[in-house]
């Protein structure tokens, strides 16, 4: 295992220390493994989080226009409720807190528990659960669809809404609308290696890729020999389009790298996705190409479409200023 780390037990702490050192606009709470905005304001607070290893998710999205706090678990393991509680406390600006949870049973249990603890402290808390991955109905860690890169769109949209001074109910509503309009699908070309384990989490043949693989290496739906970018795009676009009941004809597109895939390839994949969408008369309002929710050094990519209306467009376009997303 070749990794730039000191000790597998310290990767999360040291990474978050690095994030806080690199980005003085956020602050790090040790032990709770929480990254929160330094400047507080009176608005609905947004908290997300989950296992580490998906950087820049979620600490990279803490800042103006997106999250107020991100809570990190150990690598690929949900953060415990007390950590999430700390995140909630830090995010609380008096107008309530919304938790954005990815649909993994560990995350669900830990975040909901934290919500109850926070409510016992008198903080108003609500939550939404992102389940954007159309690959498999249930998975190794989830009952129902997994939550993957589409979660970043929820951070962006809900974050922009909260920034307007909206109520917890209103922020939750737009988050749920966003979730209802997101579909994702991924593929992997190589495994990742957990720092504490040291050997690959799964293996693929020398010329094999897996369609539908999850961001922790959970099984997908199909193994296939290496395909041209054009064909990979089809394998990702089609199940997504088939899954939408109806579409507005205008989408935001995210082509997300899983960690080790060069940006060159992500742009090539994006180009192929564009062409397929054109064939379906779907136009791209905004595009995101890069590493948004990774799986350590896994190679591969996921595609996310967010079906847009005027409200979502405006919220996507609203300014944000976070370590990993600015504009």
């Amino acid at each position: 295992m070749k990794k730039i780390i000191n000790h597998p037990d310290h990767v999360v702490t040291e990474m978050l220390e690095g994030i806080a050192l690199a980005h003085p606009e956020v602050v790090y709470f040790k032990e709770a493994e929480v990254i929160a905005r330094k400047e507080k304001s009176i608005k609905v607070g947004l908290v997300s989080g989950g296992g580490s290893g998906h950087e820049p998710s979620h600490a990279g999205y803490v800042g103006k226009g997106m999250l107020d706090a991100a809570v990190a678990g150990n690598v690929f393991a949900s953060p415990s409720p007390d950590r999430v509680l700390k995140g909630i406390q830090e995010a609380n600006g008096g107008k309530g807190v919304l938790l954005i949870i990815k649909n993994y049973s560990g995350d669900i249990m830990n975040f909901q528990m934290a919500q109850e603890l926070a409510e016992m402290e008198g903080i108003e808390v609500d939550h939404v659960v992102v389940k954007d991955d159309v690959a498999v109905p249930d998975s190794t860690y989830s009952t129902g669809r997994r939550g993957i890169a589409g979660t970043v769109f929820v951070h962006k949209v809900a974050g922009a809404k909260a920034e307007t001074g909206a109520s917890l109910q209103e922020v939750k509503q737009v988050a749920e609308k966003t979730i209802a309009n997101i579909r994702s699908m991924g593929m992997a070309m190589s495994s990742c290696v957990l720092p504490g384990v040291g050997t690959p989490s799964f293996t693929l043949g020398a010329d094999e890729i897996e369609i539908g693989m999850g961001i922790h290496g959970e099984p997908g739906i199909e193994k296939s020999p290496v395909l041209p970018a054009k064909e990979i795009a089809k394998k990702l676009v089609e199940p997504i389009l088939n899954d939408f009941e109806k579409m507005s004809g205008e989408v935001a597109v995210m082509v997300n790298g899983l960690g080790a895939t060069p940006l060159m390839e992500l742009y090539i994949l994006f180009k192929e996705v564009t062409e397929l969408l054109k064939q379906h008369d779907i136009s791209i309002y905004r595009a995101y190409v890069g590493n948004f929710m990774t799986a350590l050094e896994m190679s591969g990519a996921s595609l996310t479409l967010l079906n847009l209306d005027e409200e979502l467009k405006a919220l996507l376009d609203a300014p944000c200023q976070t370590p990993a997303m600015k504009g």
Partner: protein
Amino acid sequence: MMSFQLKLTNEQYLLYLEAFMKKLEKEKDYITQLDSVTGDGDHWVNMDMGFRKLIDQKSDLEAVTFGEMFKKIGMTIMSTVGGSSGVLYGSGYIRAAQTVGDLQELDAAKLADMLQAFLNAIMERGKAKPGDKTMIDTLHGGVESMRQKLAENAGDAEVLRALKSGALAGMESTKEMEAAKGRAYYQTNKGVGNLDPGAVTMYYQIEALVDVLMSDQR
């Protein structure tokens, strides 16, 4: 023997925790192996880390109400056990804390209420039910047979024996179940033929509790 009256004190609870810890230490390989077959193999490590921390902080748990004690235990377990079992036990203890409030002692009926609240919290948190091949089966088996004896106005000793035997039966029933929750769900054989590790450690706890309480009887 008929005159045995259950009065669970804070002190006894700490004795019980130590008794459980002793048992757990002994069964390291067995529990790890059970979770390796159906899950990710970390159940013993998770439980050991959390309960060891509890015992270390024992002095914090002395001379407080049951409500406070359970809340503290819940918070410690939640943050140190980790994994599914951490949040499930944490939820159980925190709900139990609400049930027992500022009581200094628990009688048999209150113990049953407390365990029921514990069970309900786990079921809600895990969105699971008896028969899903989890720790729930053990606790549910124990609580059901305990409540039946209580309904029959049985003596406390009989009630406690029913708690233990019901829990054992519940644990054993997980062997032939297909998992519906937790990792084993996603294994092709769904864990049939293996006890569920969480069901086993739950039994160790009930067994230790009953044994500590009954030892007073002699």
